[in-house]
């Protein structure tokens, strides 16, 4: 209690310094007067009395100091003094100060911005109960080339019934490989249809996730099924948008694509599953029989919650045994079907993980360079202040006090730099999202929150310790400064050389890494996608399934749209497809090839339904045979295959005229609804391989069937035209809207945009790393320049004498450059070795370029050598221009 009272009074004293000082001064004066009076009474002269009084009382300065120390908090006071002094000193050197502050701002800004991404992608816990217990379950099958395929509903039910390692399993449907929702519905708002994307789920999904709704309830397991599925849970944003946040929304009905659904629940803000694009959740709506019997088609994504105390390996072990039981029981569908179980968090972040880790490492390296650079600048400044320091030392400043003074400057610089850096970082999330919307997982939105602020604060604290201690350490020479100012400066320049070597070394690593990524990206962009991305737009059209229940109706509706699009001015070709190039997802089916043993080939075949114009519109070449025509309809039993299929399945034999069948006579697969009595389809043509999963992925065997043979809704239209994309898409939207007020248009893009989006992750990491490397090289150049400029200014006298004695400017130039290149060469060599060791770690991010790619290394060496020489040339030229007379007078 007393301690607090004392502390409080000390803190108060900090703010009343002047008044208290004056008060105490007056008190001391009074004391002196009274003491002097006493001495006068004893018979001294007034002067002698005053002197005696002073002696008796002690030095008044010391008394005042002691009084201050006792009264206030001396640490705070000297710190305030240090900081005030530092600010004043820094203000006198605006160029130095702004260079340091800007450098630090770049370092802290880049690191903090990166941290927002790391936190969003890898660290922030998922907004579910006990998220660490959640896993994703997928199926694997070496026969089909599956490494992680969504489950067959019947398998899912068996897992759920037989396992004893999970509290429960839940399934969902309607999300593509990149996590974007593919389940498009619409609602009417003020008579206008508005698209909503959602996810179809099993009734227990929210229970497995361990989340409670904000309002109402979530689903029950029984609501999963057809008949009791007319219920809906809304995302918080959807509730706000459609109902203005009306708290009485529960029980209200909305027509979702013409089907009346009752809102039973609203999820809290911040909840997402599987990502932020899901605006509603609806039950799967399968019939129990369908659910239990569909073992061939795979479309149900599965998650599960581990029972408390059950480890991942235990769960894998148990589930593998269940999978082999199923394999025995259902050899027809489950041969070699395995399971893969991974933590949900890892799966959700999987495609960005390697990039984010690589970039984090790069940003850490950049931060080190920033610190080294600022340390170098500080050293340079410290060495110009040797005299000042020596004087203060001579006047009795303790070593600790001097180091504290230097650190105070570092802290002031760091706070200014970090604040500016934080401002940069705060703008970063929006920039990142705009520049590379597809680079980050859809659930991960980088934001500046409390942990991010703490991170920036930690950097602000760490930075001055790293860069501020270097000069302090070097001023251990301060001890001897009074005698030998020179030894201190020599020591300082050795330290600066070391720092430059460090900067060069780290820059080499970054430049090699970024060159490798740039070359990968160039290779990727040069990959022939198998279609012509330029001058083509694409968009998805979803028909209301209630109004168009029959396949034939849908074909007619799509055909109408296609015909009207073709009449637009400038249009060269129009076509539609059930999927689109480079989208990373596909319909697949179990295929049989005539005349081949069933276990002789990969059975799972990709199939796409296309209209005849599709190939011309997308720019996919015909290689052999003929294209599809308007006469190839639902019953013509023809198909095209891609080159990969021809090569893999027919091994050089002419594929034209061969026959392929989807499923078997007893097929339970719903993916191909065949109207024809004869299931066999004849190959009439071979088309070029068009990329499906990514520019860096091999093309898989695929067949194209006439749209009418396997009608899919939605369809993606591709329009090739000489018109600009935006007016073209606007015109297309008008046409679709005219064809049906409730037709939904979505995913509007250009084929160039599709390619670009598929390279989004690559472009994102490449441009960021290149920016980091650029900053690193710039800082290294600044470091080299700083050291040499200092070298030249220190040696100007020597240089002047040499010139006076007849040295050629060329020789002096060479001397300075040589001086500058020493740390560069040393650092560069170590850097190359480090690059060889480190870039191997990023092999998974490279395409068509080896981590030891000689071109990248040569380019790095060349670029850095040029930069280093360039930054050495300026001070070297100054060396040749030293005026001997001025130089001699300077000392």
């Amino acid at each position: 209690m007393t301690t607090l009272v004392v502390l409080w009074s000390r803190i108060r004293a900090l703010f009343a310094r002047e008044r208290l000082d004056a008060d105490f001064g007056a008190e001391l004066d009074a004391h002196l007067d009274m003491l002097a009076d006493e001495h006068v009474r004893r018979g001294l002269t007034p002067d002698a009395a005053r002197r005696a009084a002073r002696l008796a009382l002690g030095g008044s300065m010391q008394l005042v100091e002691a009084h201050r120390d006792r009264r206030g908090l001396p640490i705070v006071e000297t710190t305030v003094q240090d900081v005030r002094y530092a600010v004043r000193a820094l203000r006198r050197h605006p160029v130095y100060t702004s260079v340091v502050v800007l450098t630090l701002a770049v370092g802290v800004g880049a690191a903090t911005a990166m941290f927002t991404v790391v936190r969003a992608v890898l660290l922030r816990p998922l907004p579910y109960g006990q998220p660490a217990q959640l896993v994703e379950i997928t199926e694997t099958n070496p026969l089909k080339g599956w490494t992680h395929t969504v489950s067959a509903p019947a398998n899912f039910l068996d897992w759920r019934a037989r396992n004893d390692v999970f509290t429960d399993l839940a399934g969902y449907f309607g999300v593509d490989d990149r996590g974007a929702s593919t389940l498009q519905r619409f609602v009417e708002i003020d008579g206008e249809p508005a698209p909503l994307s959602g996810v179809a789920v099993t009734g227990n999904l929210f229970d497995v996730l361990g989340v409670r709704p904000l309002l109402g309830r979530t689903f029950t397991w029984d609501e999963t099924f057809d008949g009791s599925d007319r219920v809906l849970v809304l995302a918080y944003g959807t509730w706000q948008r459609l109902f203005g946040g009306d708290p009485n929304v529960i029980g209200r009905t909305i027509p979702l694509s013409g089907r009346t659904k009752t809102v039973v629940g609203v999820m809290p803000p911040g909840f997402f599953f599987p990502n932020a694009t899901a605006q509603f959740w609806a039950p799967l709506g399968l019939s129990p029989a369908d659910f239990a019997n569909t073992r061939r088609a795979h479309y149900l994504a599965a998650i599960a919650r581990l029972k408390p105390g059950v480890s991942l390996p235990q769960a894998r072990d148990r589930m593998t045994r269940i999978a082999s039981d199923l394999e025995r029981e259902h050899p027809d569908t489950n041969t070699q079907m395995g399971v893969r179980i991974e933590p949900l968090r890892d799966i959700m972040a999987a495609h960005a993980r390697a990039s984010v880790l690589m970039l984090s490492a790069a940003v850490a390296v950049l931060f080190l360079i920033v610190c080294a650079n600022v340390a170098g600048l500080q050293l340079g400044r410290a060495s110009t202040r040797l005299r000042e320091i020596a004087v203060r030392r001579a006047l009795g400043a303790g070593r600790g006090r001097l180091v504290r003074q230097l650190l105070a400057e570092a802290v002031v610089l760091s706070i200014a730099g970090s604040t500016l850096g934080l401002a940069i970082a705060a703008a970063a999330p929006a920039l990142i999202l705009r520049a590379a919307p597809s680079a980050l997982p859809l659930f991960a939105t980088p934001t500046v929150d409390v942990p991010v602020l703490l991170f920036a604060a930690a950097l602000a604290i760490a930075a001055p310790i790293v860069f501020g201690l270097a000069p302090a350490w070097s001023s251990s020479g301060v001890e001897r400064l009074a005698e030998r100012v020179d030894s201190g400066s020599r020591r300082t320049s050795r330290a600066r050389d070391l720092l430059v070597a460090l900067e060069v070394m780290l820059s080499v690593v970054l430049v090699v890494a970024s060159t490798l990524l740039i070359r990968s990206l160039i290779r990727l962009q040069r990959v022939d996608p198998g279609f012509r991305p330029e001058h083509a737009v694409a968009f998805k059209v979803t028909l209301p399934s209630l109004r168009f229940p029959q396949g034939a109706d849908r074909v007619r509706a799509f055909g109408d749209i296609e015909r009207r699009l073709r009449e637009l001015p400038g249009v060269e070709a129009v076509g539609a497809s059930s999927t689109i190039v480079l989208r990373g997802y596909a319909w697949t089916g179990d295929a049989t090839i005539e005349g081949r043993a069933a276990d002789d080939y990969e059975r799972e075949l990709r199939h796409e339904s296309v209209t005849p114009g599709y190939f011309a519109a997308a720019g996919i070449r015909l290689v052999a045979g003929r294209m599809l025509t308007e006469h190839d309809g639902a019953t013509s039993n023809v198909m095209l295959v891609n080159e990969s299929l021809a090569a893999a399945y027919f091994r050089g034999a002419d594929p034209i005229g061969k026959r392929i069948m989807f499923g078997r006579p007893t097929a339970d697969s719903p993916t191909i609804a065949r109207a024809a009595a004869d299931p066999w389809m004849t190959v009439v043509g071979v088309v070029a391989d068009a990329k499906q999963d990514g520019m860096d992925k091999p093309v898989r065997p695929e067949v194209y069937v006439p749209y009418a043979a396997n009608v899919q809704n939605p369809a993606t239209f591709v329009v090739r035209s000489s018109a600009d994309p935006d007016p073209m898409l606007a015109a297309a939207r008008r046409i679709v809207r005219a064809a049906g007020r409730d037709f939904l248009v979505g995913d509007e893009t250009t084929l160039d945009g599709v390619v670009s989006a598929s390279l989004g992750g690559e472009r994102f990491r490449t441009s960021l790393l290149t920016a980091f490397a650029g900053v690193a090289v710039f800082l290294a150049a600044l470091g080299i320049y700083g050291v040499l400029a200092y070298f030249v200014s220190q040696r100007s006298r020597e240089l002047g004498i040499r010139l006076a004695l007849g040295a050629k400017p060329r020789e002096l130039f060479a001397m300075v450059v040589r001086q500058g290149m020493r740390p560069v060469v040393a650092g560069g060599l170590v850097g190359l070795a480090a690059a060889v060791a480190l870039t191997r770690l990023m092999a998974s991010l490279l395409f068509g370029v080896s981590a030891l790619d000689p071109v990248s290394y040569a380019a790095t060496i060349g670029a850095l050598a040029l930069t280093a020489l360039g930054s050495a040339a300026l001070p070297a030229r100054r060396a040749t221009r030293v005026d001997p007379m001025t130089a001699l007078r300077e000392e």
Partner: protein, 113 residues
């Protein structure tokens, strides 16, 4: 060693200041210093300046208060007065001091024997 004047322990000076204020009523720094010197009959080595450190300490603990006033010979001076908390503290300290002094005295007498 032969010097008969003793250094003052920090806490003891505080106690003496409190006792002085308790006995004499409000007093300025000079008066307190003089009074302690007189009472101790110069047996204590007191640097008058150190009195002020003690006064700050006591003020911070709210055991004394200070206010400006006029001295006997018409000089403006800062007067210190003991507070109720100060009296309580003084009583506790005095009791404590006497107990310890008693113990130490007994101990010293014991070892003499």
């Amino acid at each position: 060693m032969g010097d008969a004047r003793s250094e003052i322990l920090q806490g003891t000076l505080d106690m003496m200041v409190l006792q002085t204020l308790e006995a004499m009523g409000p007093l300025h720094g000079y008066g307190i210093a003089r009074r302690i010197e007189q009472v101790s009959e110069d047996a204590l080595q007191l640097n008058q300046g150190t009195i002020y450190a003690s006064l700050v300490r006591l003020q911070q603990r709210r055991w004394i208060t200070a206010s400006w006033g006029t001295s006997d010979n018409n000089r403006r001076a800062k007067f210190y007065a003991i507070t109720r908390a100060g009296r309580k503290q003084l009583a506790a300290e005095t009791e404590n001091w006497q107990r310890i002094a008693g113990v130490i005295g007994r101990l010293l007498r014991l070892s003499e024997r």
